[in-house]
């Protein structure tokens, strides 16, 4: 009975916390508008800036998925072909931009292809359209492609059963006909989910439009919220920000809710993975070498050149000098890493580590409550903020808690907890679900109490997920700039905010140096995560019974 009382207490505590960080900000956001009067609402809705910002956000939400989903899925499809050389390296290069914060990605593109950038120094040409609608769309697509690639690759491994494709080929379908009539239709629900995810990400995106769009006067709803709040304490501007935030929530809800209702059941019924590899030795289509070259060129243009450009900008003595070894220096790093910035790095690490620790504990507790009744409700509440745009969540938290903890790091921490709880929850509840219930029953019947079962059965099974969830939250918190930039106060910056501010001041070498530092910190966090994943996979492969290899061979 003591156990029951403990779990009830945990459920109550978790619910109170979830309500405080998720429900209260949204309610407050909704309450401000009627308080400001319908006149303010009409004024904001009819102001010329609002219409264009909404239109720009809308066009991003349409154009980014329209390009990113086909590109990501196309890459996943061709990289399944065994005749493409260097597949492992190409996969890594495609996924690598996931580690680069959106802000750094946008800034590195402007350093690579913008006015006075790398391409101008090297070839005497720059891309005039980079600052503006086209540039924002292109860089957001580049940012979204790795995720689409990962989701499509995983779906191809699980859903596209090799036998179904073999059946098509034996029925006379070539590579393209097979892809069109069998492979892609099997992926349909996953592709739809990708469209929703990338559309929401585009609506939410702040850093890329801020870096590439704002200088050219291209405003989206998120950059306008930032501009409204950055310009000081004008109550009219604050109302404007609140209305924009609410409109953003409504827009996202319009995308997410119907698709969730339509898609969720179809995504849940994933067929059992099949052990064999992809079908067919001699696929038709372009030769593997050509495919590898095209993908390689894509990786060079979208990832390697911008990375090189920002690294060179960071080590070059001054803007305008040629980025040759004679002009290299580490002075930019020394100058950039002054006392306030070092403090900002400390804040970032502190916040990210705290968020990772707290959310790992909360995630396990919530997962332990199970999937029925209260646990399920709690799951829905903590997942929701992931679809709520960061700008709106930040404005809501500002209204709800500014008077008590405004301007402190605690407010930013609260924002991180709200936003990233979903990441920890999804990862950990998934891992908990995968542990067969019979394993703990077997431990109980072998005489293990609740604690011994937790230590001997659950902990070993959940360790990779715990590490993974913690690192996921840590990396996302280091990335975060949308909410941080709205909630920080002087002396309480995070590193990402410091980079944003230095970019707005136009300090190219400092910004570049800080971007490199920020990305390097992420790499340091990501390498152990990657290693842990590889080790876990290897261990799983080694523990498979020998006869399964025979079965696989025969099934093929």
């Amino acid at each position: 009975m003591r156990e029951r009382a403990g779990s009830t207490a945990a459920a109550v505590a978790l619910t109170v916390l979830a309500v405080a960080v998720v429900v209260v900000p949204l309610v407050e956001l909704g309450r401000v508008v009627p308080a400001g009067g319908s006149a303010a609402l009409t004024r904001v809705l009819h102001s010329p800036g609002f219409g264009s910002a909404a239109a720009h956000s809308g066009e991003l939400a349409v154009l980014v998925p329209a390009v990113a989903v086909p590109v990501g899925t196309g890459l996943a499809l061709v990289l399944r072909r065994p005749d493409v050389p260097c597949r492992g390296l190409l996969r890594l290069l495609i996924v690598l931009p996931l580690l680069v914060p959106q802000f750094v990605l946008g800034y590195s593109w402007s350093q690579a292809y913008g006015r006075g950038g790398f391409s101008q120094q090297l070839l005497g040409a720059h891309w005039a359209g980079l600052n503006g609608a086209v540039g924002v769309v292109v860089v957001l697509v580049v940012d979204a492609v790795p995720l689409c690639f990962l989701i499509s690759s995983a779906a191809l491994a699980v859903r596209a059963q090799p036998q179904l494709e073999q059946a098509a080929r034996v029925s006379g379908a070539g590579w393209w006909a097979c892809t069109r009539t069998v492979t892609l239709p099997m992926l349909r629900p996953v592709l739809a989910a990708e469209v929703v995810i990338t559309a929401v990400a585009a609506l939410e995106s702040f850093a890329v439009p801020q870096v590439l769009g704002t200088p050219a006067g291209y405003q989206t709803m998120t950059t306008r919220v930032y501009a409204d709040l950055a310009l000081g304490s004008d109550p009219a501007l604050f109302t404007d920000a609140v209305v924009l935030s609410l409109a953003l929530v409504v827009l996202v809800a319009l995308v997410v809710l119907p698709s969730d209702v339509l898609l969720a059941p179809r995504l849940r019924t994933a067929p059992a993975p099949s052990p064999a590899g992809p079908a067919g030795p001699s696929r038709r289509g372009p030769p593997g070498m050509l495919v590898a070259c095209v993908i390689g060129a894509y990786c060079v243009v979208v990832a390697l050149v911008p990375t090189a450009a920002i690294v060179l900008a960071a080590v070059t003595r001054a803007v305008g000098r040629a980025p040759t070894p004679s002009n290299w220096t580490l002075d930019n790093f020394r100058a950039a890493l002054d006392a306030p910035t070092r403090a900002a790095i400390g804040h970032s690490l502190e916040l990210a580590a705290l968020a990772a620790l707290i959310l790992t504990v909360l995630g396990v507790s919530a997962a332990a409550l199970g999937r029925r009744g209260w646990g399920r409700l709690l799951g829905t509440v903590v997942i929701a903020p992931f679809a709520i745009p960061g700008s709106a969540l930040a404005v809501g938290l500002l209204i709800a808690y500014d008077r008590r903890i405004g301007g402190t790091l605690a407010l930013i921490l609260l924002a991180y907890l709200a936003k990233f709880w979903a990441l920890a929850h999804r990862t950990l509840s998934g891992a908990v679900d995968r542990v067969p219930p019979d394993e703990s029953r077997a431990a109980h019947t072998s005489g293990a109490g609740p604690l011994a079962t937790a230590r001997t059965i659950w902990l070993p099974a959940l360790t990779p997920a715990l590490v993974g969830a913690g690192l996921l939250v840590f990396v996302s918190a280091l990335h975060e700039v949308t909410m941080s930039s709205l909630l920080y106060s002087t002396g309480n910056e995070t590193l990402a905010v410091a980079v944003l501010n230095s970019q707005e001041l136009g300090e190219v070498p400092t910004t570049a140096a800080l971007s490199v530092v920020l990305t390097a910190m992420l790499l340091v966090a990501a390498v152990p995560a990657w290693l842990a994943m590889v080790l876990a996979r290897r261990r799983r492969a080694a523990s498979q019974p020998v006869w399964s290899a025979v079965e696989v061979a025969d099934a093929r």
């Binding site: 029925s171 239709p185 006869w547």
Partner: protein, 368 residues
Amino acid sequence: MPGEPPAVECRELSVNYGRTPALEAVTLTVARGELVAVLGASGSGKSTLLHAIAGLVPPARGEVWLSGRCVATRQRCDPAERRDIGLVFQNIALWPHLTALDTVAYPLRRARHSRRDSNAQAQQLLERLGIGHLADRRPGELSGGQQQRVGLARALARSPVAFLLDEPTAHLDTHLRAAFQASVRDRRAETGAAALYATHDASEALALADRVAVLVDGRMVQVGVPELVYAEPVSAAAAELTGAFTVVTATVAAAGPAQVSVDLGSGPMIVAGGGLRLGPDPVVARVLLRPDWVVVPGEVPGRVVVSAFRGAHTDYQFETDIGAVHAQLPGPPRLAVGAPVTWGFARAWVLPVEAARRAEPIRLTPAR
């Protein structure tokens, strides 16, 4: 028809998965209109052989010929879509997003038939297999037997030179199995196409096939008519695939045409049978006895230790001085467990010496 090229021909065909050999130098010819059963344990390379003929795996060595055309060598391998074959998959492999009609029309559409024409032909095929009324259903709405018939119709739709059936009845109940086998027989009689039928089920292979090809560990150890493969297996491993048996050690010698002299220690007995490379001089060898060759009463003493009633016949196990012996006698049980018995045999098959030695450990391990 003499002079006509065989429908399927494998010449010294070898397939590797990575460094693991899956098929080694398999040579097999299937004539037009012939049904060859590929009999083997799981993991013996049955699916690999079918997939190599279909073009789903490339050969490491050797060649595949279809209707007198070379479709696969080590250097050049026509993809599956360019080969004129129909494949029925072990796990059926119906596309979840297509209806039965669309599934059967699929190969016709790929062959650039018009949609109306394809649908009409597909409907006709479904009608002939007795599932015309299920044309609008997706795989999720069909039973196992119905799904397998849709899979068969899809393979038939291409009117191929050869059908490849990969354990098509493995997931079917016994009564559906018979129905499916009947529809394979009927359709093949209609089209006159060749067929390769992979199975691990001896009764299915012996009943359906014109010839049986026995695969052991990726090697084709014996090909012949079902009666031959049953009565004169080349090794204990091959014998095991076609049914139960007992191996006893005896002094043997050829005793005339299709007759063999077997001495179990109590004097020679002349029975029907023979052996590979068996001469008139007596040698000690291992002798294979099928349960249905055992007769009661006979000259050899023993004791009944197991009796199992199977309906049409009864299986016994006798304990004797030369080891345990399996016997199958018609009718209900008439020998009590524990009772003494005398037995003999109407037929015996002498295993080749080296094959017997090599095969012994396989006989003692139960089938995987």
